[in-house]
Each structure stands twice: as structure tokens, then as C-alpha cells.
Amino acid sequence: MFKEYKKLSWFFIWALLMAGGMMYANYSGYRIFTFNSQQQWNAGGPGYHK
């Protein structure tokens, strides 16, 4: 029954990767392709201290 689905194995691997990406994005609260110009400043600034 599932033999014919072997032909789509490449697609299922790709879909699995996408599903993993979706789960990670949901878990980390990251909304992909957001262009709302969220800005971020680090208190340490771009430099460093010796």
C-alpha cells in the first residue's frame, strides 16, 4: 500500500525539514518573514572591554 509513496520520499524528507522549522519557530516565538522593523539594542554595545 505504501510502496507507491516511496516515489515521494524526497518530498517527505523536505516536508519533514519544513515541519521541524515550523515547530522550532513556534517554540521560540519567531515569526518568519516579519518586516515590521523590530530593532534591538544590546546594552554592551558593539565594542568590547579588555
Binding site: K7, M23, Y30, S37, A43
Partner: protein
């Protein structure tokens, strides 16, 4: 198996021993006289039949097998010789005492089961039907079409068998009905006929024991050319019905066992796979025994290689524009009862008419089944469901069906070795599969399955979203244009990372309100900032009220790390009397947008495959004169 009777041979007077009550002819094991057992079972008489001698068949007397759950043993045969070939009609003697015929025809095997027609239809009426178009109702509700009509010239006998025709000359019709199976009608006397139900069975399904062992590459006949005296070795004789001398191109056919010169043919084209090379194709070892180039009425040329295995019979490799198809003739074929059939369903696939042509042989070498040099230009049709094809040839003796499937160059190199040189591919082949090509139905099912999995995973993941309101307030705005920033009390965000959604709402009308929101981490000073504004305008235009925009909006902060935070809010507003605005911050909200984007990305390859398939199919059908909606 018991011995059923003892008689005396009329020639040598030595005893004849019959094993089966239903047989009526036996070859005397002492003097090899063919003897007929009369109906009363007492006196035997000699009959005028030749003795079958050829041993180029995997079946022999004593071969045991199984069919339909019943064990049988081969006890004899009738070798029926037709104008363009012969069949071996082996006598199957079953454990229960019954007999049937196992008809062997060039590697095809069929069990003939005697049956009786419900309707009495004249043999001549069935014989007069047009092949594959006219029909007759032989069984109630089943329209049968005539597929083949052959006349047996004479019969040879071996062992103990059932002679169904006394003089050995009969006409045999093969008829078929959609969902009605196949029947053989054999005219044994003027006007009367016997009917058999035909069961085509693949050779391995019989699980034969004590079969004759045949070795591929065995020379079965050597013939000197009448033109150049060069000796030609045949490997598939007596099945081969025509051959070409590889030295001078003289082409011969065998008619009633006699060789006849037909014509001299070109030897201009060299086969890409050498003649007499051997290779394993799809699990069966074949030898290339023939090569020919065919040309249709529109001057298109293609090449065909005749393959032979002593047990499986003939197979063919067809090459056009570097695309290869592996074909085998089979009686277990579709049944078409209309000459205008554009497509048919077979084995769950839709086969569409792709090509129609008549051909002649313009170049050849080696040996071939059938008479290929008669210049009669058979009418051919091809129906495709890539990578499969059904090709039908209409000859004088009826229809021949060939079942084919695309075969890749790499399969051919694997079969015949790297030394062969195959032509380059041009364009899209008739049944060439696209890389990763799958049926539309499978694509849709696969896509729907993935969609369902994504939905379930997403619904599962959002059960862990808190949707916790961490800050909510309504602010009163001063009447001045400059609005001082607002700093909120601290609140805690305690997930590793999560989003934070702000919902802003202001009672605006024909104005705008905007605010910058900075989320400040009180522990380390890191800041995350977004801006969002709302605007709403309304009025009358031509007596109709219109509105544009909205008085509320949302903005989301991504992936905020855990920590203690407060907000710094910097509002600004447009003209008009905007006295208040409200802000609600919700922590860890579900993101359906993510779901839709990931689903879209996951399904993109399927869409790409579909688009490529549409393009490829368009190119494939450019070579066809037929159009299918």
C-alpha cells in the same frame, strides 16, 4: 495417476497403455505409430498424423505443474502448425483425472478450459467480424470482438493427447470481451466448433518441475544463404519465422516449414547493441537475435531489437530519438471494441492514444518471429500512460498486443555492458518519465497528507502557547501636541524565548495615532523596539459613506528571551481630539502565519513538479497527431 486401459498397437501389436480416459490419441512407445482410440474404447486404429520432434520448448512429457490450485502432469501434445508459426497444445492431466490444454505460443502460455456457450451463434458469423471493432453477443450481456483468426495447416502429435480435430486442419478464432475474458473457438467440423475459455498465465506461476532445461545462446538451426552461401546461425528457430543473411541482406521467411526468399534488404544501419549480445533485462536473460529499422509513411524511422529467451520467448527493445522502450507481446491485453477508441482504462491507468502509423522494414539483420518481410504494412496504434505503453498491430491474422515500458540507458548499459554505444537522447520520448515523476493522484494524496500532518503538528504546538496578558492599560492623553513618554511597571517573561504581541487601540476619526514601544530588559539593559500606528478616515462621496483604515492594530515582537522587562511607550497623534488610547501586551501567542508560510514552502516542490510535468507533457504530445482534453 492410474493406468486406465491397455490396447494393442495396430502396427506392431505391442501393448499401448493409456493413462487418461479423456484422451483419444497416443503415440506407440514401441513403433512410434500415432494411434487413435475409438469411441467404444476397444479397438485402436492408426491415424495419419506426424510425430512432433522439436525440443525447443521448456515443456516436455512428464513436466509437472500447478494451475488454479490443482496439480497436473504433461502427458502429450498436439503441435499445431499455422501459416506463420505454430503452437504447442500440451495435454495437462490433472490429479482428479480431468484434462485441459496448455497452449504454448512463442513464450506465452495459456490454459484452455473447455466451456459451452449459452448462445448458439454460427462460427462463420464470428469469423466474419472485423478485428477489434465489430462485436457479437456470445454470452448474455457480453459483447465479444474478434482478435485473431488462424488456420491450422497440419498437426503433429507426441505422447497421449486429445485430438479435437480429426484431419488436423481447423480454423481457430480468439475473441475477447471487456470484463468477459477471452474465448477460443475451434471449428472441428463444418459448422460446429468447440469453445475454450482462455486463461493466460505467466510461465513462473505454473511452478513447473521436470521442465526441459534450455540454454540461451544455443544454435538451433544453420542455414546457407541461397545468394551468397554464407551460413546463418539461428538461435530462436523454430519460433523464428523470418531472417536476414547478415552477409548479403537476403531475407527469407518460413512458410509451412519451407524457407522462401522474399527480398534483399539494406544492411546500412549498425545496431547500437551488437547482434547476439546477451544481457539481463528486468530479471530475465535475453540474447539479441534480430535488429531492424522500420519506417512509417511519413518517413520517421526507428529501430527495434528482437530479444530472445528460450523459455520466455521474444521481447523487443524499441529506440526512437535515443529513447528506449522494452516491449513484450502478450495475450493478456486490453479489449477494444471500437476502432475510434481514444483512451481506455487498464490496470487502474488511463492509456491515451498517442500514435497511429503503418510501417515497413527498411533495414534488418538476424531473425524475427512472424513474417516481417511481406511489405503488408500493418496498421499500428499506440496508447500511452507514461512510462507504460500498449502497442497494437493489426495483421491479416488479427491483433497483436505489445505491453511496453520505458527503459533507461543506464539499465541497458547495466544489461549489455559499457562497451555498447547508445544514441543521444533528443526531445521527450513517448513514454519517457520525468525525474521523480508520479501520478497526479499520488501528488494530491501526498500533498493532502502533508497538509494534515502540518495542521496536527501546529495544533499540538499551540496547546503550549500561553497567550498570557502581561500588561494592559488605558492611557489618557494630554491636550498638548507633545506627549511625554510612558514607562510601565516591570513584568516577568519566563519562557526561554517567546513572542510578545501588542494590541493598540485609539478612538480616532479622520486622524491617526502612532506609538513607539520599547521593551527594556531590566536585568541587562537590552532593548527591543517596534512602532505601530493606526489611522482611520471616513466621509461621504457622491452621497455614499466610506471609511478607510482602522482604529486598532497589532504588532509583534519576535523571540524575546526570558527576563524582567518594562515598557517605554512614546505616543504621538494626529489632528483632532484623541483623548485616550489602550495597549495590551500578550505573551506567547500562536502564529497561524507561520503555519501557512511553512505549508506553502513544504508544498512548493509538489507545485514545481506539477508545472514541470505540464511542460514536459506538452513537449511529449508535440510528437503526437492526437489531442486529448
Amino acid at each position: 495417476m492410474s493406468i486406465t486401459g491397455i490396447h494393442t498397437c495396430p502396427d506392431c501389436n505391442l501393448p499401448l497403455t493409456y493413462r487418461c480416459a479423456d484422451t483419444n490419441v497416443i503415440v506407440c512407445s514401441h513403433c512410434f505409430a500415432p494411434v487413435k482410440k475409438p469411441a467404444d474404447g476397444h479397438l485402436a486404429q492408426r491415424v495419419n498424423l506426424l510425430i512432433a520432434k522439436d525440443e525447443v520448448t521448456p515443456i516436455q512429457i512428464g513436466t509437472q505443474g500447478e494451475w488454479s490450485g490443482k496439480k497436473f502432469e504433461i502427458i502429450g501434445r498436439l503441435r499445431c502448425v499455422f501459416a506463420d508459426g505454430f503452437t504447442n497444445n500440451w495435454t495437462m492431466y490433472f490429479d482428479d483425472g480431468g484434462i485441459m490444454m496448455l497452449v504454448e505460443n512463442c513464450g506465452q502460455f495459456a490454459v484452455y478450459e473447455k466451456t459451452t456457450l449459452e448462445r448458439n451463434i454460427a462460427f462463420s458469423r464470428v469469423a466474419a467480424l472485423d478485428y477489434g471493432s465489430e462485436t457479437a453477443e456470445l454470452i448474455a450481456g457480453k459483447q465479444y470482438t474478434l482478435e485473431r483468426k488462424t488456420t491450422c495447416e497440419y498437426m503433429e502429435v507426441e505422447g497421449e493427447t486429445w485430438l479435437f480435430d480429426d484431419d488436423g486442419k481447423f480454423t481457430r478464432l480468439e475473441v475477447a470481451a471487456q470484463r468477459g475474458g477471452r474465448l477460443a473457438l475451434i471449428e472441428n467440423n463444418k459448422g460446429s466448433y468447440i469453445t475454450f475459455r482462455i486463461h493466460y498465465v505467466p510461465f513462473p506461476d505454473f511452478a513447473f518441475k521436470n521442465a526441459r532445461s534450455l540454454v540461451i545462446g544455443t544454435v538451433t538451426k544453420e542455414l546457407s544463404c541461397s545468394t551468397c552461401n554464407e551460413v546463418t546461425r539461428l538461435y530462436s528457430w523454430p519460433l523464428a519465422n523470418s531472417y536476414t543473411c547478415t552477409s548479403c541482406g537476403a531475407s527469407y521467411t518460413f512458410e509451412n516449414g519451407e524457407r522462401k526468399f522474399k527480398r534483399r534488404i539494406g544492411l546500412n544501419k549498425s545496431p547500437a547493441i551488437p547482434l547476439h549480445a546477451t544481457g539481463v533485462i528486468r530479471g530475465i536473460q535475453y540474447q539479441v537475435v534480430g535488429f531492424m529499422e522500420k519506417e512509417d509513411d511519413e518517413s520517421y524511422k526507428w529501430r527495434e531489437y528482437t530479444l530472445f529467451n528460450p523459455i520466455q520467448g521474444y521481447a523487443y527493445l524499441s529506440e526512437f530519438n535515443g529513447h528506449w522502450i522494452f516491449l513484450q507481446e502478450t495475450g493478456h491485453a486490453p479489449v477494444i471494441t471500437n476502432n475510434k477508441t481514444m483512451q481506455f482504462d487498464y490496470d487502474g491507468k488511463v492509456f491515451k492514444l498517442y500514435n497511429q502509423y503503418r510501417y515497413s522494414v527498411v533495414d534488418s539483420r538476424g531473425e524475427f518471429p512472424g513474417n516481417v518481410f511481406d511489405n503488408k504494412k500493418p496498421n499500428c496504434k499506440e496508447w500511452i500512460a507514461p512510462p507504460e505503453i500498449w502497442a497494437r498491430e493489426l495483421h491479416d491474422s488479427g491483433l497483436c498486443w505489445f505491453q511496453g515500458k520505458h527503459i533507461s540507458r543506464s539499465e541497458l548499459y547495466a544489461a549489455f555492458g559499457k562497451d555498447i554505444s547508445l544514441p543521444f537522447k533528443v526531445g521527450v520520448g513517448a513514454v519517457q518519465p520525468a525525474p521523480g515523476m508520479v501520478g497526479l493522484s499520488l501528488l494530491l494524496r501526498g500533498g493532502a497528507g502533508i497538509l494534515l500532518v502540518f495542521l496536527l503538528l501546529f495544533l499540538f504546538s499551540i496547546t503550549y502557547n500561553r497567550e498570557q496578558v502581561v500588561y494592559e492599560n488605558m492611557f489618557v492623553l494630554p491636550g498638548t501636541p507633545e506627549i511625554p513618554p510612558i514607562v510601565t511597571p516591570p513584568f516577568k517573561l519566563d519562557k526561554w524565548r517567546a513572542n510578545l504581541e501588542f494590541h493598540i487601540s485609539a478612538p480616532i476619526n479622520n486622524s491617526w495615532f502612532e506609538t513607539a514601544i520599547t521593551l527594556v530588559n531590566a536585568d541587562n539593559g537590552n532593548e527591543y523596539a517596534v512602532e505601530n500606528g493606526v489611522e482611520m478616515y471616513s466621509g461621504y462621496d457622491g452621497g455614499e459613506y466610506w471609511t478607510e483604515g482602522s482604529s486598532s492594530g497589532d504588532v509583534l515582537m519576535n523571540a524575546i528571551p526570558a527576563g524582567n522587562y518594562f515598557l517605554r511607550i512614546d505616543p504621538s497623534k494626529g489632528p483632532g481630539n484623541i483623548e485616550t488610547f489602550s495597549l495590551k501586551a500578550t505573551y506567547d501567542v500562536p502564529m497561524w502565519r507561520n503555519f501557512f508560510i511553512f505549508v506553502l514552502f513544504a508544498l512548493l516542490p509538489l507545485l514545481a513538479v506539477l508545472v514541470l510535468a505540464v511542460i514536459r507533457e506538452g513537449r511529449r504530445w508535440q510528437n503526437s497527431p492526437f489531442y486529448h482534453q
